[in-house]
Symmetry: C2
Subunit: 342 residues, 2 copies
DNA sequence: CTGAAAGCGCTAACAT
DNA sequence: ATGTTAGCGCTTTCAG
């Protein structure tokens, strides 16, 4: 490390000192195979001595590459976002990319223009889009026609394999149904997410279809429309329990609502799981901290993120086979003590 | 928007179409005052028509500016990180900066080299460092001698005003002490964070000093050494309550531990707050979701982040007066129902 | 396998 | 107030 020199070394310095041309140094940096072994070693030595690292901006300008990936989201769940960031970054590191984050407002009517402008302005090589924004086909379309590489995280195949990484929430919800039936429950309440989200439908249909197979499809009064919020969990639980024949278990389709359900139950003087079982979806930090600990479904968030980043970089690098591999992950059921056998 | 042209417009296109030189266009882009009003309007019109936006890489290369800020952290608390990101980004947007995130491993012995290399490689204009990494003076020193602009988020003035934004956790902890004493508590238990962190000392000393003023300085057996984790909260609570004269309230110095304390209490057959009051620190999502809802202290995280970003950008722009303003924020006490009056 | 030279799109002295 | 001319540090034809 040259502690005394404020100026960082450039490719010219390396070329001069190692007695080769810029072009050759560039080849060494980029691991081109067309460099003699001796030359490579000589150049590499100078690079190490100088503690040289190429200027990303200059490189990007010349090569039309920024080595920057973007992440676009409007998700209230900080834990989810953080997990995705970590997952994406673990792959970025391997390939020399950095991650630029871009939270935004889903409802904004300039959402699409803003997203495209974000990518263009920063010359991002690609973007990863998180749910629920990932479900916006217009956004994906705009990105596609602007020739932007993108991968969406989703619960269903809403794009070609190249552009999406899927967690099969339908089958995860079905697994929860199986589990609750096996515990002996027949009166089963369900709290859904907001209508406009795809995950809402996936989870609901997966759950109901599986129950139907066991001959206990829930009546309409066993299904409450929530909003993925704590408060809506409370409200829906009240509604569900007000039925003349209330459920013995409530499956809230995310943990926030499940925690709301537990709180509501306690308010009503019901003990969970003695008087009412409760299950959630997400395995957020809340799930393991709440009393009683919540039976829930763990989405493979970091895995999805890693796959998305891998796909994206493959796509940027033109490794089409890899970019086009179909990725479908299955969340797993986490059994805790908020659900009991009847 | 020119939908049919794959190539984005460049400054040359704008110059040619508006019949002025590149230099003048550049002046318009950068809001230089030395441009005639008519010229400015004419150029701006072309810019709008072409939907032109300058290439950040080229701009950065020429001006030695990337318009990229970095965020360095190793913090288990996703909510905190997310809050900081949002805060920083709200300022970034105003000034045309983007944010590159960089979680890392505090324990790594290449931490410092990696951080410096991160900044150099990506040509970041500045970085914001989160606790507890922000407490690493060697890192700050290395950044400083590498001429990197940085701002640290901290609980104490561990750098010059330009380089730090402070939340006064000492006085916040003191406020909690006052509050508990006012509720009538005298036997007061404390669960600290890990020794190596500054915030641990700040919170502990602030708390104890305030109690001392009221003549109820806690004995050594009323202070348990935790680790800011859920499990350590449980363990420390057990220890505290095993005293012959156990506390009537436990102040855990973060919410995770406070939630552990509540769980431990319930395990021991104690009802919170009837048999034991519990208070936390952070006002994390857990605080409002747990039963009973947690009395805690809310750190002004987004505010700190905004101040840090503002400072950093001022410093980059050479607005020294602004960069050197001293920022000390005070967290506020949030009263909920996990603490009761004796 | 290596080198010379022409840019990538922008800013910044230095004119005018 | 505006234009000319060099670069910023790198990649990339195109030659050898």
């Amino acid at each position: 490390m040259n502690e005394f020199n404020d100026q960082r070394a450039t490719i010219n310095d390396v070329a001069r000192l190692s007695g080769v041309s810029k072009r050759t140094v560039s080849r060494v940096i980029n691991n081109s195979p067309k460099v003699g072994k001796a030359t490579r070693l000589k150049v590499q030595k100078i690079i190490d001595d100088l503690n040289y690292s190429p200027n990303a901006q200059a490189r990007g300008l010349a090569a039309r590459r920024s080595y920057l990936l973007g992440m676009i989201y409007d998700n209230p769940d900080a834990l989810y976002i953080n997990d995705v960031q970590r997952g994406v970054l673990s792959i970025c590191r391997k390939f020399g990319y950095e991650l630029v984050v871009h939270p935004c407002d889903m409802q904004s009517d300039t959402l699409i223009d803003e997203a495209v402008s974000f990518v263009n302005r920063s010359k991002l090589d690609g973007v990863i889009i998180l749910p629920p924004i990932s479900e916006n086909n217009d956004l994906a379309g705009a990105l596609g026609s602007a020739n932007v590489n993108y991968v969406r995280l989703a619960s269903i195949a809403l794009d070609t394999a190249r552009h999406v990484v899927i967690s099969n929430e339908r089958s995860a919800a079905a697994a929860m149904a199986e589990y609750l039936v096996k515990l002996g429950h027949r009166r089963i309440g369900y709290i859904s997410g907001p209508r406009r989200m795809r995950s809402t439908r996936e989870r609901l249909e997966g759950f109901c279809d599986a129950l139907e197979k066991h001959g206990c499809k829930p009546d309409d009064d066993m299904i409450a429309l929530g909003a993925y919020t704590f408060e809506s969990g409370i409200e829906c639980t009240r509604k569900l329990m007000a039925n003349t024949n209330p459920p013995t278990v409530i499956f809230a389709s995310n943990d926030e609502m499940a925690v709301g359900a537990i709180n509501a139950a306690q308010d009503m003087g019901l003990k969970v799981p003695r008087d009412l079982s409760v299950a959630g979806f997400d395995d957020s930090i809340l799930a393991s901290r709440i009393m009683p600990p919540l039976t829930t479904i763990r989405r493979p968030v970091q895995d999805m993120a890693r796959h998305a980043a891998t796909k994206l970089i493959a796509s940027i690098d033109g490794r089409n086979d890899e970019a086009d591999v179909s990725i479908i992950l299955v969340p797993e059921l986490v059994e805790r003590t908020s659900t009991r056998s009847l």
